[in-house]
């Protein structure tokens, strides 16, 4: 059961009969439990590595520890958004519920990590640059990415039925990447005309090696496992929500039919 095999309605990722010990349906399965356990075991290790094991940076001091949160969340956010982009293209091609749910699940997770990226970046910027916000291409385009993802979800929430929800959100999902590229290039151009081209000054160019590099790569890897884990669960919640929607509709139709035949 892999998330990458793109099958349509035939075999859903949602396991057919997933009931926990309490008897309620769950979105868990042996595969996701393994992923969840990996994440839960690794998180204390991430905290220990980033707060205890690694030394403070020679230039940035203790604030470098924020980057162990910031960089993995950037990576997860951008990967999730790219998944949404690809899933939107695939939806427009295949028109399957599977791709619709992959895209929307990734967009939801992406927006959470984009927000985390922005907040952790601003705290780091306040400490290191002395200002929480700079009109830097990367910062600005991440903010616009967040706003577009908010719009994507608002549009999905506002769409009355599944067909219009999938159609409309696929269009926004497809526009995510060209939009962000245009914003990024135009801001880059704008800033290079007015002041020094780059904000990331050379005196902050620190070398990462050894344990710091390992921590960085390890937290990013944990972040990716977390993304996959959340994606599975969010996909299954979406799948079950669609089933509930269908059942409600068919029950309403049956109720109306029952009214008509006394």
């Amino acid at each position: 059961m892999s998330i990458g095999n793109g099958q349509s309605a035939g075999t859903p990722l949602a396991t057919q009969d997933t009931r926990s010990v309490t008897g309620h349906p769950t979105t868990g399965s042996p595969a996701t439990r393994v992923l969840g356990i990996i994440v839960l075991l690794c998180l204390p290790l991430v905290l220990w590595l980033s707060f205890v094991a690694t030394p403070p940076d020679a230039v940035q001091g203790e604030s470098v520890r924020l980057l162990y949160v910031h960089v993995p969340s950037v990576t997860v956010a951008y990967v999730a958004c790219f998944v949404t982009f690809v899933a939107s293209i695939m939806w427009l091609w295949k028109r399957s519920e599977w791709w619709d749910l992959v895209g929307s699940s990734a967009a939801e997770i992406g927006s959470v990590f984009t927000a985390l990226t922005l907040v952790s970046g601003m705290i780091w910027g306040q400490i290191t640059w002395g200002t929480a916000w700079e009109w830097d291409p990367r910062l600005t385009s991440t903010l616009f990415l967040f706003l577009l993802l908010v719009g994507y979800q608002a549009l999905r929430a506002a769409s009355p039925d599944r067909s219009s929800r999938s159609r409309r959100s696929a269009v926004i999902g497809l526009l995510l990447v060209p939009n962000i590229l245009i914003v990024n290039r135009s801001v880059q151009w704008w800033r290079s005309l007015h002041q020094d081209a780059t904000l990331f000054r050379t005196d902050l160019d620190f070398r990462i090696e050894g344990l710091m590099l390992f921590t960085w790569m390890f937290t990013t890897a944990v972040g990716m496992v977390l993304l996959v884990w959340l994606l599975f669960h969010r996909f299954r919640v979406g799948w079950l929500a669609n089933r509930v929607e269908e059942r409600q509709l068919s029950e309403a139709v049956a109720a109306r039919r029952a009214e008509a035949t006394p």
Binding site: L92, A154, L155, A158, R167, R168, I172, L174, P178, S186
Partner: protein, 222 residues
Amino acid sequence: MLRDAMLVAGKDLRVEARTRVGLGQVAPFAVLVLVLFGFALDPDRGILEAATPGLFWITVLFASVLGVQRAYAVESGAGVRDALRLTSLSPGGMFLGKALALAVQLLAVELVLGVGVIVLYGADPAGWILLVGTALPATAGIAAAGSLSGVLAVGLRVRETLLPLLLLPVLAPVLLAATRAFEAALDGSPADGWPWAGLLALFAVVYVGCGIGLYGTVLEES
């Protein structure tokens, strides 16, 4: 496709000519925004003069939100969308027509605003070739992105509040580029402005292309 576009644009512009909502409400609203900016940024302190290009284009963006809403409100009557789908017009043509009609109306609003900033803010339109060369691709881009965002919000109960959230982040690069180009024109250094006009043209091409390709997907809804 072009014939379909002209038909749809002709229909929208005829509706506008008979109802005069754009001329009677959107254009006065835009002028009102200029006056309000004047109150907010004291005209005697030079802030207004420095901010003129940005204020002009922000006002155009606000007017475009209203214009897009109006362009789809005229089609919100019972059965109008189904009737349009049954006309066998090509979706790409319908998109181009909507965008064309919107662009014509926006250009009219921009003309009024242009006179407004000259009279109220004391702007000097010496570099008018660049001003026109910026306004045309910028308006094409706004109209294309607006028509595409507009159709995404069609038929939703929250369309009035959703549209600005979808449209304005998309139009942010247009605001940035058009403002820089206008700044260059008003400063008398048009050579700095033409690359921005080129960026606006690229934006317009991307969104016209996306609109032609994607408009049909949204229209297929039953």
